[in-house]
Structures are given as C-alpha cells and as structure tokens.
Symmetry: C2
Subunit: 155 residues, 2 copies
DNA sequence: TATTGTTATACTCTATAACTATA
DNA sequence: TATAGTTATAGAGTATAACAATA
C-alpha cells in the first residue's frame, strides 16, 4: 500500500532546524546500525550472512544464479560457489529450465523455509524482549515511528 | 499528517498485547536492519567494515591488539593482520608500552581522525536527506523515538 | 556470435597452532 | 611458567579470466 506522500518538505515553517535535523539523523542512523548489529550477533550463526541473503531472495521467488549475482552485487563465479554450498547443505534445489537449457532454476527446500522461519523468530525475540520492557508511552511512540522508519528504509 | 495505522486502543497503563509487541518488534527490527544496510551501501567503501570498526574502537581510547581482538570478537592473529594493514595505510600508530614491553599501544593518526569524520558525514547525509523530507509531525515522532532506540541499542 | 553458467587461479579475511619476547 | 604479540599454515569468500554448453 502506498500511504499519502509525505514528500513535501515544509520543514521551513514548523519543522526542525537544519542542524537539528542533522543531529537527529545522526542519532537515528547510529541507533539503527547498533540495533542491527546486536540483532545479527544474537541470532544463531547457522548460515553466513551472504548465504542468508540469498535464501531470502529465493524465498520471494525461484531465480537463476545470474539473477542472484546481479541482485546481490557479487560476481557470477562467487554466486556459483555460494549456491553450491547451499545445495550441499540441502537448503537449495537446482532444476533445469526446460525452455532454455543453459539456465538453472534455484529454489528453496522445505528445510530452508523452516530454517528462515526459525532465524527470524530468534531475531524478533531479541527485539521483543526489549520492546516489552518499555513503558506503554514509549511503545506508543515506537509504534508510530516504526511506520515512518519502514517507509524511509524502503523508499 | 500522521497516518493512523489501524492501531488498537489500549489501556493507558497496560501497554501492548504480546502479539502486538511481537509485531512491532518485527517491524522495527526489519526497518533498522534495512536502514543500516542502505547506509552502509551508500557510504564510501574506503575502508573495509572490520577496519572501520577497529578505527572506531581506537577513537574511544588507545588500546592494545589483545583488547581489540577481544572487543571485536576475532582471533589475535586476525587482529594483528587488520592492524598491520591500518598501520601501513598510515591510519594507526604503534607505540611500545614502557611499563610492559610485551605490549603495544595502538592509536589513531590525524589522518584516521579526519577519515572517520568524513565517513560519518556521508552516512549522516543519507539519513539527513530522508529525515528532511518528512513532515514536522513525523520528525517530532522520530525525535522521541530516537532517544528510546538509542537506549535500546546500548542496553 | 552472444549468453549462461562453471572451472582455474589469485587475493583477502579468518582461524588454530607454533614461535619469540618479555614478565 | 604464563602472557602479549607475531608468524606459519589452512579454510572460506570474492574477483577476473578462460572455458563448455546452449541459443
């Protein structure tokens, strides 16, 4: 869903001063990066970051090695290796493309699906514990902020 | 305008339901990780992530290789190598510890100090642009949220 | 001939084990 | 003998270049 555009910068009237915006941006960025880092550290390291990323891409839709390499901004040989490791671990499946036999279709195995679910559960758990320890007022603020941050992250 | 995202009304002193907390935590975590990723991609890759991390530690205070290895959770030989590269690039300086000649004190050079400043400036710029495009009301919410998130990230 | 994917080779970051020098 | 740091060697991930199969 596309929420009403908040693209107009009418900050000149009632918003923050440029230096206040700069300070806020710096603080927010740092907080996000620290939380991100903590979450990554907490959650189990059953798959390496680059492998996890590839699994997430394949969760959206089956893809070819070439597509994955482009999306992940790595070379084709590198993706060949990464995919090879995932296939060996039984997390990714290779299928020949019947329409173009040069291509290979990669998809997740059921094991990978449940592994992703489990990793996300652990990551959310870390955050959940911390959110639950906040006051109702703070939770209220974060709920409003969450929608804004999500929009910022995706734009 | 504050987009009212189907938010359940709650009793003032009870806070969110467990499932609402879980949903909020998941959304917040994801937003933070995406923003973190975007920021890292945007900012120049003049130093590798592990090198940047070490430089930040040394910014707080001069340290020994052993301390750095423990803080960064890498092996001592690995830290020797990382530090070696930084010394070669003129970003870190070695000094013998006069009280215990087995130890080495590592500290930042002036070049490193200005490099860190420049990297942060670029990272903040990415976030600043996005914050400045929000409405004053949204900026207000983020300002309150920022303090809470910072506390969560550091606890 | 162009494209998809793999193999060949090299470089970097990481780790464990062995070594040097101080304490 | 124990500790701080380095070197030796090996295991992954990444890259570029060369190759095989298919279009």
């Amino acid at each position: 869903m596309t929420p009403p555009p908040a693209r107009k910068s009418r900050a000149a009237d009632t918003g923050l001063t440029p230096s206040a915006i700069s300070a806020l941006a710096g603080e927010l960025r740092l907080a996000c990066m620290r939380i991100s880092r903590r979450v990554r550290f907490e959650s189990t390291h059953v798959v390496a970051p680059h492998q996890f990323s590839v699994l997430c891409r394949l969760e959206d839709a089956p893809r070819t090695p070439g597509e994955l390499a482009e999306i992940e901004k790595v070379s084709a040989p590198s993706m060949t290796r990464t995919v090879g490791a995932l296939v060996e671990r039984g997390l990714v499946e290779r299928t020949d493309d019947p329409s173009d036999r040069r291509q290979v279709i990669l998809s997740l195995t059921p094991d990978a699906v449940s592994l992703l679910k489990e990793i996300r559960r652990k990551r959310d758990a870390w955050m959940s514990v911390r959110v639950s320890h906040l006051t109702p007022q703070e939770q209220e603020i974060l709920q409003q902020a969450s929608a804004i941050l999500t929009r910022v992250a995706n734009e």
